[in-house]
């Protein structure tokens, strides 16, 4: 009862406003009157009574303030008043406020955009039960995290003591045939998958352990995603019971799976950016691929995730799992080659957090994205520097007002609070606009990261975390930027209240801060520009470098006679027919089929030995299979001997072509032509030609030996091969018409044409990502610094208009006026460059792994950066300088 009354009282004080104030006034007035009466009764005259009473009464305003203090709502009122005042003073200097808000908006927008990506990739929890308990188990290989095989998973699952659940999901996705070009893709999942994740279906049921028994080869049931349910079945509950056809890898087996349930909308799989359309039981892989992966102890195709038992640490789990793993290796050691066993033992299982999903996408983009967060943080500093300068400049014009307020008795703390309130308003406005920018721009980054793979789509829409980040960043940076001006201006050493005198007198000290800030902005711009130029140069080097092949005008498409049901010799015939057709078409310079294409779809490795020399079982080379015309198509030069020709048929001597790196390594100065080599399952081949060395897996790799076997000569033709075509003219159009023509000659699936150049660009996704975002950051920083420089120079000219007028009146030439302005600009930029270049040299080392054929100390890059900055500075200084030189002395002298 009492508590309620107190609360009511407090609320009344807060919202009562005028009425409460008036009551207080009444109360005090009443007190005063009674005092006067008392004095009257004591015999004083009315005037005397009044004077005595009033003088004793003291400062009414102060009393009111003190009473209000007791109402303990003062701080809210103060804040509200500060905000209103802030808004008003912002309106009084609209240009200043606009530039400040714009600077913050640009910088915060960039930060929010980058953070959205970080959030999606690394921070956002999976939409499952207790994601913090989930960990990923994987063997650590030199090139990243590897996969499990099914027997490996079984052992670890059955023998561990540290997990409540261990679930498995296939690493590659595979399609369900529906006759379209973009069929639904899904994975195999263990029976306990959905139970362990705590998911419940929106329709039907999910997979259960009894669906996934090896003894029954798994049930032919499937669970589909919400997305697929909507797309293919229109959200109709009749989807339950329909079938998904899953075909084996060689097109020979097709198994129908019955749909039994639909997953919740929020769950799209364990891999960020990918959305799995369906899941089928792990053990059913055996039905689809009887000679396949399930039983193979060495085939790594499964990703394993576990839910830790309570209070079990990751380290303990790791030891436990590795114990089971080693026992597994012991068990299967007899079935594998000793070097394979050794390799397995050398790759212990590591346990890492999976709360944000499997680590694949994270590992790919982690370093570049964190690098970019650093870059946009620098942009934020540049933006804040502008805000600081603007606030300092504004403060200069408000010195009179500030002086008066401090003189009346406003406390310094109060004053600083009010200035900070202004900064906060600027910050929040800037943050709101920045958020809008980010919402528009972040999808662009996500698209780049998806790398033109239609299966990948990163959801970078702002969620609560991103909003909180933006809010805190805007507020924090604005307050930080506002602190220095607030502290300086409230210092209160006011030599004079007259604005003009104060402006002239107080100029010098502030200028030191201002110049320092401009120089810092320039230095940071140097850093960002250097990074951007290095990346751009890298991309250019990749485009123009000699990698052993020509990328221009080469079209590629998959031919899959295996999926069309062709086998054996029929496949070779098909390929020959296609080649004949394609070579006869206009616009085609040359054509070939191959197993692997440069840098892209890569081929196989195989054991290798030169005939007549002892064979080393560890020796491996890369093997590609190509038809005649391949090297002409890809623009790889033939150095010795000949290309494959019409005489190389099935039945004639098996032939091979090797690359120069192989010759250097195995033959030195000897002539390799005619020599025989033993290449794994292909057997003994005779070398008939040597080609230049090309890159085959990545553009950055060291030269390595490659053997090119004849694609159409051997017996065991693969299910699909690339068709590569060198075109003259519009490659894309020619590619499309080729696809149509080829599809006419046989009922065999032909993939969509794509350009070799585009495919190669896709291997450079990280470099392109960093180049684009770093470039944008650098541009932003330069623009902000230029705006800052312009503002400072313009202001300086305005302040000194009087002085300039005098000088012109005394006979100074325009040039003499221009020079100091330009000199000032040059000095500031020079200072910034001097600080920035060493910083750039030191810090761009962080980019080293992304660069190609260019180093951070490259003189041409640094030269370009410095030149650009001076040009920009010149542009920023032009207008103020021009205005200075055109000051009309008569007007200026009157401007007192």
């Amino acid at each position: 009862m009492r508590a309620l009354k107190t609360v009511r009282l407090r609320l009344r004080s807060l919202f009562g406003g005028h009425r409460v104030e008036r009551e207080l006034d009444d109360e005090l007035r009443d007190h005063l009157e009674r005092e006067i009466e008392r004095h009257l009764a004591a015999g004083l005259s009315r005037a005397q009574a009044r004077t005595t009473a009033l003088s004793a009464f003291g400062n009414v305003a102060l009393v009111r303030e003190q009473v209000r203090d007791t109402w303990r709502v003062r701080w809210i009122e103060d804040l509200a008043r500060d905000l209103v005042f802030a808004a008003r003073s912002m309106r009084r200097a609209p240009l200043h406020s606009l530039v400040a808000v714009a600077s913050l908006a640009a910088a915060i927008g960039a930060n929010t955009a980058t953070f959205s990506v970080v959030n999606t990739l690394m921070l956002r929890d999976l939409p499952v039960a207790s994601p913090e308990q989930l960990v990923e188990l994987a063997p650590e290989t030199p090139v990243g995290l590897g996969n499990f095989s099914y027997p490996m998973y079984e052992r670890v699952r059955d023998q561990n003591t540290t997990f409540t659940h261990l679930i498995a999901v296939s690493s590659p996705v595979f399609p369900a045939e529906d006759g379209t070009d973009q069929p639904p893709v899904g994975r195999y999942a263990s029976g306990n998958f959905f139970d362990a994740l705590g998911l419940t279906p929106v329709l039907g049921r999910l997979l259960i352990p009894s669906d996934d028994r090896p003894s029954t080869n798994g049930s032919t049931v499937a669970v589909i995603s919400w997305g697929l349910w909507q797309r293919k079945f229109g959200g109709d509950s009749a989807a339950i019971g329909k079938a998904l056809e899953i075909r084996g890898p060689f097109g020979t087996v097709s198994v129908p799976f019955t749909i039994v349930g639909v997953l919740p909308r929020a769950f799209q799989g364990l891999t960020v950016g990918r959305s799995d359309d369906f899941y089928v039981p792990l053990t059913s892989e055996h039905r689809v691929n009887p000679k396949g992966l399930l039983g193979s102890p060495g085939a790594g195709w499964i990703k394993v995730v576990g839910r830790l038992k309570e209070k079990v640490s990751r380290g303990a789990a790791e030891s436990d799992v590795n114990l089971a793993y080693q026992r597994f290796i012991d068990e299967f050691a007899g079935l594998a080659r000793p070097e394979e066993v050794q390799r397995l033992r050398a790759r212990p299982i590591v346990v890492s957090s999976a709360r944000a999903g499997l680590s694949g996408p994270r590992r790919e983009f982690e370093r570049p994205v964190l690098l970019l967060m650093g870059a946009v943080a620098l942009v934020l500093v540049v933006g804040c520097a502008n805000v600081v300068n603007l606030l300092l400049a504004r403060g200069l014009t408000r010195r009179a007002e500030i002086g008066v307020r401090l003189a009346i008795g406003s406390s310094r703390g109060r004053f600083v609070r009010q200035l900070l309130a202004e900064s906060a308003v600027l910050g929040l406005l800037g943050g709101a606009v920045g958020l809008a920018f980010a919402v528009c721009g972040t999808p662009g980054i996500a698209t780049l990261m998806a790398n033109e793979d239609p299966a990948i789509a990163y959801d970078v829409a702002p969620d609560r975390t991103v909003l909180a980040f933006t809010f805190l960043l805007s507020l924090g940076s604005a307050l930080a930027a506002g602190l220095i001006p607030a502290l300086r201006l409230s210092r209160g050493n006011v030599p004079s209240l007259r604005e003009d005198v104060a402006a002239r007198g107080g100029g010098r000290a502030l200028t030191l801060w201002t110049r320092g800030l401009i120089a810092s902005q320039v230095a940071l711009s140097v850093l960002l520009l250097a990074g951007a130029f290095l990346l751009v140069t890298t991309l250019r080097n990749f485009r123009t470098g000699d990698f052993g092949f020509e990328r221009e005008g080469v079209v590629e498409m998959w031919l899959s006679p295996g999926r069309g049901g062709y086998t054996g010799e029929r496949r070779a015939t098909y390929f020959r027919e296609v080649l004949q057709l394609v070579r006869s078409m206009s616009g085609v310079r040359s054509a070939a089929v191959s197993l692997g294409m440069p840098v892209w779809s890569t081929g196989v490795t195989s054991s290798f030995g030169v005939e007549g020399r002892p064979k080393d079982p560890d020796e491996e080379v890369f093997v590609n299979e190509v038809s005649e015309g391949y090297f002409a198509t890809t623009g790889t030069r033939l150095l010795r001997g000949r290309d494959f020709g019409p005489d190389d048929r099935p039945g004639s001597t098996p032939v091979a072509i090797v690359n120069d790196a192989l010759v250097q390594h195995y033959f030195g100065a000897e002539n390799p032509i005619g020599r025989r080599v033993d290449v794994g399952i292909r057997g003994v081949l005779e070398i008939v030609g040597v080609v230049e060395t090309t890159k085959h897996e990545s553009l950055r790799e060291a030269d390595s030996p490659i053997v090119y076997g004849h694609a159409l000569q051997g017996g065991n033709l693969g299910s699909s091969l690339h068709l590569a075509v060198k075109t003259a003219g519009n490659a894309a159009a020619i590619g499309r018409s080729l696809q149509q023509e080829i599809q006419r000659i046989a009922p065999v699936p032909v993939g969509s044409p794509s350009m070799l150049g585009a495919q190669i660009d896709r291997t450079l996704v990280k470099e392109r990502l960093v180049a684009r975002v770093l470039g944008a950051s650098a541009l932003l920083a330069v623009l902000l610094a230029a705006a800052g420089l312009y503002g400072v120079l313009a202001y300086s000219v305005t302040r000194r208009t009087n002085e300039i007028g005098v000088r012109i009146a005394l006979g100074a030439t325009r040039a003499a006026i221009l020079r100091p302005v330009l000199a000032e600009a040059t000095k500031l930029v020079a200072l910034g460059v001097v600080i920035g270049v060493p910083a750039a040299l030191a810090l761009t080392r962080a980019l080293a792994t992304l660069l190609y054929d260019v180093t951070p100390t490259d003189a041409s890059v640094l030269g370009a950066v410095i030149a650009s900055l001076f040009l920009v500075a010149l542009a920023a200084a032009v207008v103020p300088a021009w205005r200075a030189s055109h000051v009309d002395p008569l007007v200026a002298l009157r401007y007192e």
């Binding site: 009492r2 508590a3 109360e27 009443d30 009674r34």
Partner: protein
């Protein structure tokens, strides 16, 4: 009126509570009564009185009510609440202990 010599805020609260324990009164009357009861030693100015009154009201120890007085004036009357009465007893005991302790020290030679 000068501020009460060396009166701590808490002590003023106690004085107010004590005074209105006898009967509800308005601010001016409270200051007069304190002055009277202390033989004019303690003079409470409105600078200290009203902040103290409003704080006590916020704390819930006293209740305020506008009433019509003689001469058709309106004044804000303050009265003790039950919590206020309890608090007053506690404060008084506290004050007793404190002042005894101080006297012990001060009165030694």
């Amino acid at each position: 009126m000068s501020k009460p010599t060396d009166l701590v805020q808490g002590t003023l609260d106690l004085l107010i509570l004590k005074v209105i324990a006898l009967e509800p009164m308005h601010g001016w009357a409270i200051s007069q009564r304190i002055s009277q009861m202390s033989n004019d030693v303690l003079q409470v100015g409105q600078g200290s009185l009203y902040p103290a009154l409003h704080k006590l009201e916020q704390q819930g120890w006293i209740d305020a009510e506008w009433r019509d007085t003689e001469n058709n004036r309106r004044a804000k009357y303050y009265a003790l609440t039950r919590e206020g009465r309890r608090a007053m007893k506690q404060e008084a005991a506290q004050w007793e202990r404190l002042s005894t302790a101080i006297s012990l020290i001060v009165s030694r030679a």
